[in-house]
Amino acid sequence: MWIYEKKLQYPVRVSQCNPRLAKYLIEQYGGADGELAAALRYLNQRYTLPDKVKGLLTDIGTEELAHLEMIATMVYKLTKDATPQQLEEAGLGAHYANHDKALFYHNAAGVPWTATYIQAKGDPIADLYEDIAAEEKARATYQWLIDMSDDPDLNDSLKFLREREVVHSQRFREAVEILKDCQGKKKYF
């Protein structure tokens, strides 16, 4: 089970109301390489992976939920004081028509999240390679978002998240090596 901790993993501050940035940030909320996809991918794959990597998938999957909350906080803070007109000007008119200022799991272009973004192959190497790729894609997305953002407070939090993807990728790479070693010793299954 999971226990909720009434705190963010890392502080989220924004300099000013900026619905345009919020629109782009949604990519990491409900996009193909976003935090929801990451959390659901790892927390689903872990059941059938070898014992040696179950802990890692559980822990990284849980951390991704904390990242999801940070992204939600960014979007919330960037839009909470915006007028419907400002939202429309920022390209969020269609979002407002359907959701008001509520968050929703879709990407920056408004395409709703789908389970087809993630895979569970049951093959440990195939799954872990997908996980490494997912981390690298998330890292790249954070970089593009930082490149577009002129909000120094927001960028501080985005840089933290970008670095977490680097760490996750590193740990997944180590997990692959651990499994390869075991495979060599025929202790794989």
Binding site: I3, Y4, E5, K6, K7, L8, Q9, Y10, P11, V12, V53, G55, L56, D59, I60, E63, E69, A72, T73, Y76, K77, V167, H168, R171, E174, A175, I178
Partner: protein, 89 residues
Amino acid sequence: MLMKHDRRVAQAECLRELQELDFVLLELNLYMDTHPYDKQALEQFNCLSKTRRKLVRRYEKCFGPLYNFGLSKNRIPDGWSKGPWPWEI
């Protein structure tokens, strides 16, 4: 009782301390997931875990329960269901 604004600032500061400590603990946690026999990491982790318990106690005394479902004691007033929530700080 602190003024509302001062209280928020103090809460954010105390949270920041906890977030810093948690950063190290999480890093060690993920590291130990792939290096389960590193005794130095283990010692550091267990020592910081103890420090964390003290810090959580201090935080909760000032700002209310950090956990639901019985992991923290609840209280009246300023109990679990009272804000601010993390996205409002």
